[in-house]
């Protein structure tokens, strides 16, 4: 208790002075808290600066030079950027990556949603299904790509054996020598893998939907589909937006599956954008040109993510 000191040793409150000192005290506390907060986040800021902002800035710097893998370099201005539209493989890799992204995004969301609906109850066995459906994601894209490469082999690959028994394809089908077949096979693989992850994201959102809303809908006589459409999906808007953004960004950054299964072939028809950057850097050893491609990629991913945030954001966000 703040107050003026009396001769008998008791403190008598003086409202005005006390309020003023409280304000001063609160300001100091706020300043201290602000400094403490800054101190607490400073490691994270330093990490972002050192491991993200500096490499990003350095990448932009390299993209303005003719930086080779080894040897001297000099500034070339925007030459690496102006050359990109004339690089047929780069342009093709962008179009191919966008095509691939467009093909897999919706199936991943739809299958992920249906799987989440299937396993969201607490019925016996639901957890087993949940684990099974998430398992491909745990195994990982690289491992699955190597498996797919073997199973797509003509003559003995499991995919050809099964499809030939169903009279849907020849046992000698060479998947990787046809761009459309190769893309189809990789899309099936990726949808199978990524749906499990989307399922987990949506499942977490579904478990946050209050049960009373479904009970009210039941009282109103809503069908299953009406409950999904009018209750679940609106309340999952943020989860759906998150899964779509992760899915689209992941597809634009696709590399492993194409590098392992098709190696970009036949020709360069399945070279993804990241693969083209890798080849320009590691095979052609044109680090400056590869950095310019990477900067373009960062801008493209940033723009698409920004648009997705704007379109998918909740009204209350």
């Amino acid at each position: 208790m703040e107050g003026a000191a009396l001769g008998d040793g008791r403190d008598v409150p003086v409202p005005g002075a006390a309020a003023s000192r409280r304000r001063g005290s609160r300001s100091r506390r706020e300043r201290l808290e602000a400094r403490a907060g800054l101190a607490l986040v400073s490691p994270a800021i330093a990490m972002v600066a050192v491991f993200i902002l500096f490499p990003l800035g350095f990448c932009v710097y390299i993209s303005l030079t003719n930086w080779p893998l080894i040897g001297p370099y000099h500034f070339v201005g925007l030459a690496n950027y102006t050359a990109l539209p004339h690089d047929s493989v780069f342009v093709q890799s962008i179009l191919f990556t966008l095509e691939y992204t467009a093909i897999v995004t919706i199936p991943i969301l739809v299958f992920g949603y249906l799987m989440a609906v299937f396993v969201r109850s607490n019925r016996p066995g639901a957890s087993i299904f949940r684990t099974c459906m998430f398992l491909p994601y745990i195994v990982g894209l690289t491992t699955l790509s190597f498996l797919a490469e073997v199973e797509l082999q003509p003559g003995y690959g499991t995919a050809n054996v099964i499809l030939s028994k169903l009279h849907l394809a020849s046992i000698n089908t060479i998947w990787v020598q046809n761009a459309n077949l190769a893309l189809a096979a990789i899309c099936v693989l990726v949808v199978w893998l990524a749906s499990g992850f989307t399922m987990m994201l949506l499942l977490a959102g579904m478990q946050g939907v209050p049960e009373q809303l479904y009970e009210s809908a039941d009282v109103d006589g809503a069908s299953w589909w009406e409950k999904e459409r009018l209750v679940t999906i609106p309340l999952l808007r943020r989860s759906i937006a998150l899964s779509l953004i992760i899915s689209v960004v992941g597809s634009i950054l696709a590399f492993n599956q194409f590098y392992i299964i098709t190696d970009g072939g036949p020709g360069t028809s399945t070279v993804s954008l990241v693969m083209e950057i890798y080849e320009t850097f590691n095979t052609a050893m044109h680090v400056g040109a590869a950095s310019a491609m990477a900067v373009v990629l960062i801008v493209v991913v940033g723009l698409i993510t920004f648009v997705q945030f704007r379109v998918l954001r909740s009204d209350d966000a």
């Binding site: 040897g71 990787v176 020598q177 020709g267």
Partner: protein, 446 residues
């Protein structure tokens, strides 16, 4: 603005190396290693890499790990004054890791570098000039010519051969006998005829198999046949190189034969999808007559096949001759910024000594010295003896653009092979190949 940060490093490092060499020369003179009559250069050559001390950091490719793993242990156990610290680099990132280390001034002392990537480093002065030390090696004339060529700029050596990964023609003597063929083909025409005879045996036998979706494998196994016929696909010195495609008769002949083999179903249908991951496995099943492949397949064949069903021979030329091989594998290089170049050279000489070279076959690769081939070597390693015998006829395409020309997805070589072999348009493939090879060379030279 020309930035020359990189150029200062090699000169500084060369100075350091020269100073170290001079000091060592002086020390050696005190111990009587150098003769009083020797010239200063000769003294340096004799003392550099002798009784070095300290640590040698050695980077080797993970793909070749068996040799450095075994020999580094042996070296460290027998050389108390000098220790090797081994680091294995990822197969596809060895060059970029080395370039990054050189730029950062943290280059290792010694590197086992994929030989096709050596010119990219030596041309920029990033490697130590080891000409006088190589010239002083008593077995210099038996070193792999292709490996040494890739370590050469003008008349100067910037590396020395380290290990050989060679291409050979695997063939199945059992099928050859059934088809009435006496031995491995020595010409393109014989190879085609043999393929026809073996395929006509029936029972699902194929005359020849190739890795039809692996442009690197195809270069590894087809180019030697063109070299054996006296032609290369790239000619001229670095910086002024030309493509030799549309008037390259052996190339045209080889592509035509491969197309005939493919169109005549003399090769397994799956070859078109063979990207190298299971390359050579079909031959191990015993129903493929010939496989232009890697000598290293021997490990698998010794485990899985009767010895009567596999043998190797040099890859044939168009009209006979001793054949050829792709001088693949690694060169030893010492980065210009190495802190212990003398120690590195001592390690190099130890690896190249006969007792270590004779261990290479058991560790999965071929010695780099043709004089290692003796009657006892032949008796002990008959399959490697074929590869080692061909080493002196081996070659490479000497260019900075090898990866872009041959190994990259959709490379000029890849497109030319696909168009010629699978589509049968050999003339069109050669014509467009000439243009795309030339434009790729021009982009690298500029």
């Amino acid at each position: 603005m020309k930035l020359t940060k990189m150029k200062s490093t090699p000169w500084r490092s060369l100075s350091t190396a020269a100073a170290a060499a001079a000091l060592l020369a002086g020390a050696a003179a005190g111990t009587g290693v150098a003769s009083a009559s020797a010239t200063p250069n000769a003294r340096v050559a004799q003392t550099f890499g002798v009784n070095a001390t300290g640590t040698v950091t050695f980077w080797a490719r993970a793909a070749t790990k068996a040799i450095p793993d075994a020999l580094v242990k042996e070296f460290n156990a027998t050389h108390p004054h000098l220790k090797i610290v081994l680091h294995l680099t990822p197969n596809n990132e060895a060059s970029s890791e080395l370039a990054t280390a050189i730029r950062a001034g943290t280059a290792p002392d010694l590197v086992g570098l994929n030989d096709i990537n050596v010119p990219a480093f030596s041309k920029e002065g990033a490697l130590l000039n080891v000409t006088k030390y190589v010239n002083a090696l008593p077995y210099k004339s038996s070193l792999s010519p292709g490996h040494l060529k890739l370590a050469t700029i003008g008349s100067q050596y910037y590396g020395v051969p380290y290990l050989a990964d060679l291409s050979v023609l695997w063939y199945n003597p059992k099928l050859f006998k059934q088809a009435g063929i006496s031995g491995a083909p020595k010409t393109f025409a014989a190879m085609l005829q043999d393929a026809k005879k073996i395929t006509s045996l029936g029972h699902g036998d194929y005359g020849l198999s190739f890795a039809g979706d692996c442009q690197g494998c195809l270069g590894f196994t087809m180019l030697p046949s063109i070299w054996a016929s006296g032609q290369h696909l790239v000619t001229g010195p670095l910086g002024k190189q030309n493509a030799n495609i549309d008037h390259n008769a052996p190339l045209k002949s080889l592509l035509t034969d491969y197309h005939e083999i493919w169109a005549g179903k003399m090769a397994p249908h799956a070859d078109q999808a063979q990207n190298g991951s299971t390359w050579g496995d079909d031959f191990a099943k015993g129903n493929v007559g010939m496989l232009p492949g890697d000598y290293g397949f021997v490990t698998n064949y010794l485990k899985s096949m009767p010895k009567s069903e596999f043998a190797d021979a040099p890859l044939p030329g168009a009209n006979g001759g001793p054949g050829s091989t792709f001088d693949g594998g690694d060169d030893f290089v010492i980065p210009a910024g190495a802190s212990n170049p003398s120690g590195a050279w001592e390690v190099v000489k130890w690896f190249l000594a006969r007792s270590q070279q004779e261990q290479y076959p058991a560790l999965g690769d071929t010695p780099i010295r043709s004089d290692i081939l003796t009657s006892s070597f032949l008796a002990k390693y008959p399959y490697d003896a074929v590869a080692l015998h061909t080493l002196k006829y081996g070659s490479v395409e000497y260019t900075l653009a090898y990866n872009e020309l041959f190994n990259a997805p959709g490379s000029p070589w890849d497109k030319m092979f696909n168009e010629a072999v699978y589509n049968g348009n050999v003339s069109g493939a050669l014509s467009s190949g000439q243009a795309s090879f030339q434009s790729t060379l021009a982009s690298v030279d500029s």
